[in-house]
Symmetry: C2
Subunit: 554 residues, 2 copies
């Protein structure tokens, strides 16, 4: 490459065709910056997996070029992979104070030293090599969120991060429309914008509208109020606390992540709590139930969360009693619908009044709907557009929306993770592909569970396993002991003794047949046993358990 | 019991606190009738289970008393358990013609002879022992649905079945409001009513509104149209065919269940198709794409369905091409959201235009919303009310709705499966409890998979299994061969050789320790191995695979 190349590359390593693990690489010449570094929660078929992070082979292959990671906000799907990334890449990280506060907690949990974290404020601009990066205030469901403007020698790139255009944010800090307008005036080469709600017509409601619903619910509640929400939604927590103050209730915060984030937000001044409002969870019984609010986690029905344990009568400190009002201030993330509805049912069974999704106004999204997305297009007026953060259909809808506003089709890129999108001042194209994909994290293992292990888990989960052990004589090739059959997850053995006996008989016959036919290779014997038994069991049960023949030598 | 008892019992065996496996027992003296006999699809944690049916121990214990099964309509959650029930109980079955037509198919698939099926028409009344049963026409998402009036010596019981009050049904056959009004005039003791949509305010839209959307979509589609819907929704299929006729398109029906139901409906006259409209799927390429509609299954993203296979480019006969319009005329059943959204994404990737949930008017529910539920209360004016068919919260909401209309709280029963609700002419109470619950069907096995097997499957699915085999000398108690370790679903062994070697070493040490300490009982040795290895693996990997020590004797 020449000293002053005329092109810039944008390479999404995550967040394309998926909700989560957002990560975008910007490369100009020999300099790389990384925007966000998020995790994704596993799909249903990723059995036993705890979380999914982006494959960063490309960054490791170019480790000397990576100058910084720049963060847009503190949600898991934007910072959650950083503990894993920073273990392998020692680069400076830039983000707003709350973002870094939350990140520090994550790094600590993962025993990663937080050595090079650099706090910025909305409105700040920093220079990293050839990149001049500006941080632009936006609204989102977590405080201190920013969009990024990245000035390169080829042109300006704007990345919205996750955003909505809340005209009446809880903290009064409105999206920096002026800066977006200014950038649009000066000319923007590429816009990358959040597609999560690209399917939704109209505007996303203001976070403040939830405060109105809180007020109505508090006014009519006669006894205890329990609010479950996302721990990171500081503005939601603020509104709950404000409403509690108004109705002279004390607030106890419960649930590890809620307590953690609230503490960080308090410390950094993002939460304003009047003296004497917060009480310890152990103190709630010192107050009449009409003077208590419990703020807690579990709005997604997570099995180990505080709310779920309360609903199941398994919480050590809080028991749901008739008269309690439980507000679930969230909508189920796709895939969590059944967990959430189970939790609601259990709360009803305990006699609580439950205010949830079906009731309107109890939650608003943090992502821009179609009219907001259009406004951003009109403010930024980019030459090229890349919809980001969304399932494939969200990206398509967002692309169609931009085209309906006049962007030529060839200037809009519905990209895949790993695609190298290359832009000069007047041309954009897909210039190649780099390694990208999912790295599965299971316990302490990062990437040691792949397709083979998952396929085995799926088979085991469906029909269980039968293990056939035979001890064979090394010399004669005769059976010295067994065959024994052990099964797990197949049938309830005590009630299926005959089946298991019959199965053992089939194995014996298969072994005899091998002996008679002079088959002595153990691989062949095993394969014979597996086939015979598999066929027999499928006929008898219509199930296909994993069959595992083990031969021991004596 | 006296010859003419003054009480009647209502015992739900399914459908309470759950969506599915609907079954209600009505007992008067020594006579029992059963309303519906449905299946439920397994919950996420019922790994490997195909379907769930009600536990009918109560019926088997009283087999001589059971006089009939009476069906309200032909959906799986109302007839799907009948093949299993009829294998154990040979009783007459009553239902409308379409219901029995669909049931016959199910019985055939399960090799159960259809010996005693009795067709009735809406408006018919039949006498079964002391029960006089009337069949009342209602609207639902399957044709030929009925509510039931059951006259007993104690009073009249009305069971709505699944219903909505469509004022403009596709076939013009309006709900029999007059009969409901007449029953209300004469006096109804107990009402049981569908709670599925008890959370939804207002009215459920008419099925005809979907026809309007079909029309709009057909008008603008330039090429092929593919419609996925529930195979049992005859009215939806009728509207698709009508719209196809209007726009001069041929219709091919694809997908086993869609073809089956359409054939039954055609035969019985529930579908009206003009000559020459239906074509075979193999003929579609004989027509221009603008003259073709494909009606198919897979609206729930079921992995083996026709639509899903098309979306994944795995269908033998139909390939999705850019320009195709795919209409998914259904909303995801709770739990299927991710499957449906994955299918939509794949269709977009193939270049199809997809019309789905987010677009309004493409599907309407088959269940009554709050205003319809209120109308039924006002028409029937029951003395006692039992909300049925719903998750617990739906039952609670429905109960609250009835109370808000003036029914005293003590006359409303939010019941559990198995509860015996007993009514005299002026009193209702919970009189006891009978066996009720889930029977899990896995392949050919009915009830042979229970909690132990499911617990094993869950553990296997999360972290896999390690099998440790040791051959030991019967006399000396020494190790003759092994230990060998085999793992499945735990780690990718080729990349974890060191871990597996270390694990083997730990097992060796545990065995030595047992020998040194004179531990010779095999149960004790196994438990030692399991504990040592489990602890070690958790420390190294934070995973808890199933550990299965097997000792062979020589």
């Amino acid at each position: 490459m020449s000293r002053q190349p005329n092109k810039v590359q944008i390479i999404p390593l995550g967040g394309m065709g998926e909700i989560g693990k957002n990560m975008t690489v910007i490369r100009y010449g020999d300099e790389i910056i990384v925007i966000d570094s998020g995790l994704m929660f596993p799909e249903d078929d990723m059995l036993g997996i705890d979380l999914v992070i982006p494959d960063i082979t490309y960054l490791l292959d170019n480790r000397d070029l990576v100058k910084a990671v720049v963060l847009t906000h503190g949600h898991e799907d934007h910072i959650g992979a950083l503990p894993y990334v920073l273990k392998q890449l020692n680069v400076p990280v830039y983000g707003t104070r709350l973002t870094l506060g939350i990140l520090e907690g994550r790094l600590k949990e993962n025993n990663v030293p937080a050595t090079n974290l650099n706090a910025v404020k909305p409105g700040d601009r920093i220079q990293i090599g050839n990149f001049k990066i500006g941080f632009i205030r936006v609204s989102h469901s977590i405080a201190d969120s920013v969009a990024l403007s990245i000035k390169t020698p080829v042109g300006v790139i704007v990345h919205t991060g996750d955003f909505k255009l809340d005209q009446t944010p809880v903290d009064g800090k409105v999206t920096d429309f002026h800066r977006f307008a200014e950038l649009g005036d000066q000319g923007v080469l590429v816009l990358l914008a959040d597609s999560t709600n690209a399917e939704r017509p109209g505007y996303t409601q203001s976070e403040k509208s939830v405060g109105v619903t809180f007020d109505e619910t508090f006014r009519s509640a006669r006894e205890r109020i329990i609010i479950a929400s996302f721990s990171s939604n500081i503005h939601r927590i603020q509104q709950a606390i404000d409403t509690a103050c108004k109705y002279r209730r004390k607030v106890a915060i419960l649930g590890r992540s809620m307590v953690n984030v609230a503490n960080i937000a308090l410390e950094l001044g993002y939460l304003n709590v009047p003296e004497g409002i917060l009480i310890d969870i152990d103190e709630i019984n010192n107050y009449p139930s009409s003077a208590v609010v419990i703020l807690t986690t579990g709005s997604q029905g997570e099995p180990m969360s505080a709310l779920t344990r309360m609903a199941m009568s398994e919480h050590k400190k809080v028991e749901i009693v008739p008269g309690d009002t439980v507000i679930i201030s969230a909508t189920p993330i796709p895939g969590n619908e059944k967990l959430v509805s189970r939790t609601i049912d259990y709360l009803f069974r305990q006699g609580a009044e439950v205010v949830y999704e079906a009731a309107s106004g109890i939650h608003v999204s943090g992502h821009a709907s179609q009219e907001e997305l259009k406004l951003i297009q009109n403010l930024i007026r980019p030459k090229f557009f890349i919809p980001v953060h969304g399932e494939y259909r969200h990206l398509v809808k967002h692309a169609q929306l931009a085209q309906s506003m006049g962007l030529p089709k060839e200037n809009v890129f519905v990209a895949e993770n790993g695609q190298v999108l290359e832009f000069t001042a007047d041309k954009g194209l897909v210039a190649g592909k780099v390694t990208a994909g999912n790295v599965l994290v299971d316990g302490l293992g990062v990437g040691d569970v792949g397709n083979i292990v998952l396929r085995d888990r799926r088979q085991l989960s469906q029909d269980g396993i039968l293990i056939i052990v035979v001890t064979m004589d090394k010399q004669g090739g005769q059976v010295a002991a067994g065959p024994d059959i052990v099964s797990r997850g197949f049938v309830y053995v005590r009630e299926s003794e005959q089946l298991m006996e019959d199965a053992k008989e089939r194995v014996r016959q298969a072994l005899e047949k091998c002996e008679n036919n002079g088959i002595t290779e153990w691989a062949a014997i095993k394969s014979n046993v597996r086939d015979t038994l598999g066929k027999y069991l499928y006929e008898r049960t219509r199930r296909r358990p994993m069959i595992l023949p083990i031969i021991m030598e004596v």
